[in-house]
Amino acid sequence: MELFHNHGTRSMRTRRILGVAALTASIALVATGCAGGGSDSGSTSGSGGGGDQTITFIPKQLNNPYTDVVLGGGEEGAKAAGFASSQVVGPLDASASSQVSFINAETQAGTNVIVIAANDPDAVCSSLEEARTGGAKIVAFDSDTNPDCRDVFISQVVAKDVALIQTKLISEQIGGSGEIAILSATANATNQNEWIKFMEEDLKANYPDIKLVATVYGDDDDTKSFQEAQGLLQAHPNLKGIISPTTVGIAATARYLSTSDYKGKVALTGLGLPNEMRPFVKDDTVKAFALWDPAQLGYVAAFAGKALADGTITGEVGDKFDAGDLGEKEVTDGGIVIVGPPTTFTKDNIDDYDF
């Protein structure tokens, strides 16, 4: 820690320190920079303006297994829809402001379509506005931005359906009464918060004996979600069930439950990836959970982007566009395109899915 103890007079030494510091920093930048594009399949970045249309996906966070499935569908959709090039850029952490610099870079590159899953509905708005001024079309998917700053939003399913299926599953598993808690992603995640709002309404209206005692946030971080699950069970000794409407949260909670005394005593459901949840369904930690096919989300987003860029749709209610293998999709109220209904996974059908 000699930095704190620099005795001032040795300027030669200080200069050398600064030099090496700069060198280290640039090596680090190069190293992380290389990694940033690691998940993209070798496509070149859009040069813009050349007549060829380019599309860029900005997920909430790179290197997230759920996001990878969505983006896989997106790449496939982009190819099928006829984009000249598609790429994926994005932050490594799912924080509110981390996406802004990536949007700005896309604006400068003149990308035609930006597909984004917002970490925060408003934080990305002003930079998206700038991109639109520059001629880009904005497609939100997975997690919506403020409706004013995008052309369409591709939603997995009707938000309410996602909420209702989770309350139904937990009610079945705890016998219709008792204390439950929710373990969500970040405190300001648009999609999770919307589902939680619907779940609260549904619980009040249709399940009077189920009491929601806490909502905690694991920030889509494995370790943090794990410890939040632990804290929930300690703080609420009568807890009978946990709903985790996020793939990271449900897997971490399942891992904790399956390695603790609570296994089989506390029910767990929510939204999970079949591949990640398979062991916990097989060892009876989790009886049933739900999800849609995430790849379709990216796929439809790519086609929506193409239709917007070609000018065949403008994002008005009632606009219809062709979504390749998935047929025709329609823009509904609020500029939302719905992909499909959620699926429930249990011991009996989980082996039929591979994502």
């Binding site: 790179l62 494995d222 891992r255």
Partner: protein, 349 residues
């Protein structure tokens, strides 16, 4: 820099009469004492409010939560004592954890012991890079390890991409290391305690261990005195790497997934644990036992505040207050020691 190191064997013999008072005095002046008292108070108060906190599952969770940070804090303490710091431990843990996941997938049936050894060797290599850069380039460790923090994380991102390995990919016996208990103590916690004891004995008893304190107190004087400073500092970084590697393997045993972001941000918790545990950030004093207790205290606070349903957002503020408190205590102690030394030396002259 609050304690001075006496060259071995050159101290003047102490009269037997004052020895007893010295023992009581040294317990009272034990650097680890505040953190141990805080820990005991915390556990008792939390237990009074929520008895579940000390249920068998509660104790197990508390110990398991502390295990990994404890091992990292011990390693960090070794480095900080030499007046250096290693900020890359979170990234080292991430690389080793992902490496561990990869080993089990690529070589099914690989013996668990071999995985532990390979993990520690990998950690040692990464630690050695830090140590070599610090000792050969003679650049402050703060800057070097800040650089390697990003380099190692970048490598992890490039290597892992979106791949994650899950508990299911690993043999059950490996995962059970962090599930099974002996007399209520989880196996991996016992491993951590073993590590703390071994390192503590080395730091207190071995000549090279004492050298580390001398280097931290005054590197120039240590060099003049004939201590191989470069070799010892390198040793400290390698030891820290080995422990970070061990922590990475244990992380993989305990948690569900390992991937590109595993261990991100852990370094600050680790440095905080060492500082709260009485390891002076300017080197030369503190102990690895203190650092281990610091880790236990910080992880227990998080668990305790949740158990008594205190808002999450307060937890970080409380950790901050603890860090400041321990630095203030350390500062007061060092001012007092300096004054006492001045007075006694003046008298001796």
């Amino acid at each position: 820099m609050t304690t001075t190191v006496q060259p071995t064997g050159s101290g003047t013999p102490t009269p037997a009469a004052s020895e007893k008072r010295n023992i009581i005095g040294s317990v009272m002046h034990l650097r680890e004492l505040p953190v141990i008292l805080a820990l005991v108070a915390l556990v008792l108060v939390t237990w009074a409010i929520n008895p579940l906190f000390l249920s068998p599952q509660g104790v197990k969770d508390m110990l398991l939560n502390a295990t990994i940070v404890m091992i990292l804090a011990v390693g960090q303490a070794i480095v900080i004592i030499t007046r250096n710091v290693d900020l890359s431990v979170g990234s080292i843990l991430g690389l080793v954890a992902f490496g561990t996941g990869t080993l089990f997938v690529s070589f099914p049936g690989i013996p668990i012991v071999a995985v532990f050894i390979l993990g520690m060797v990998f950690g040692a290599l990464l630690g050695a890079v830090n140590g070599l850069l610090v000792t050969l380039a003679k650049v402050p460790a703060l800057v070097i390890t800040l650089g390697t923090l990003y380099i190692y994380r970048g490598l992890n991102n490039a290597w892992a991409g979106g791949t994650q390995y899950f508990a299911d990919d690993r043999p059950e016996a490996f995962g059970n290391l962090s599930v099974d208990t002996v007399l209520g103590f989880p196996l991996i916690t016992l491993m951590a305690v073993f590590v703390v004891v071994i390192v503590a004995i080395f730091m207190a008893g071995a000549r090279s261990g004492r050298d580390l304190y001398a280097i931290g107190s005054d590197p120039d004087a240590a060099r003049v005195f004939g201590i191989p400073v470069t070799k010892r500092v390198l040793l400290a970084f390698v030891a820290n790497g080995v422990l970070a590697g061990l922590a990475g393997v244990l992380y993989t045993s305990r948690f569900n997934s390992v991937g590109a972001t595993t261990g991100t941000g852990l370094e600050l918790d680790v440095v905080a644990a060492a500082v709260v545990g009485g390891v002076a950030i300017f080197g030369g004093s503190g102990s690895v036992v203190g650092a281990a207790f610091g880790a236990l205290l910080l992880t227990t606070i998080t668990g305790a505040l949740t158990a008594v349903r205190v808002d999450k957002f307060w937890q970080q503020a409380i950790v901050g207050v603890l860090i400041l408190a321990s630095i203030v205590i350390d500062r007061i102690a060092s001012v007092r020691t300096a004054r006492r030394l001045r007075v006694s030396e003046a008298r001796d002259v």
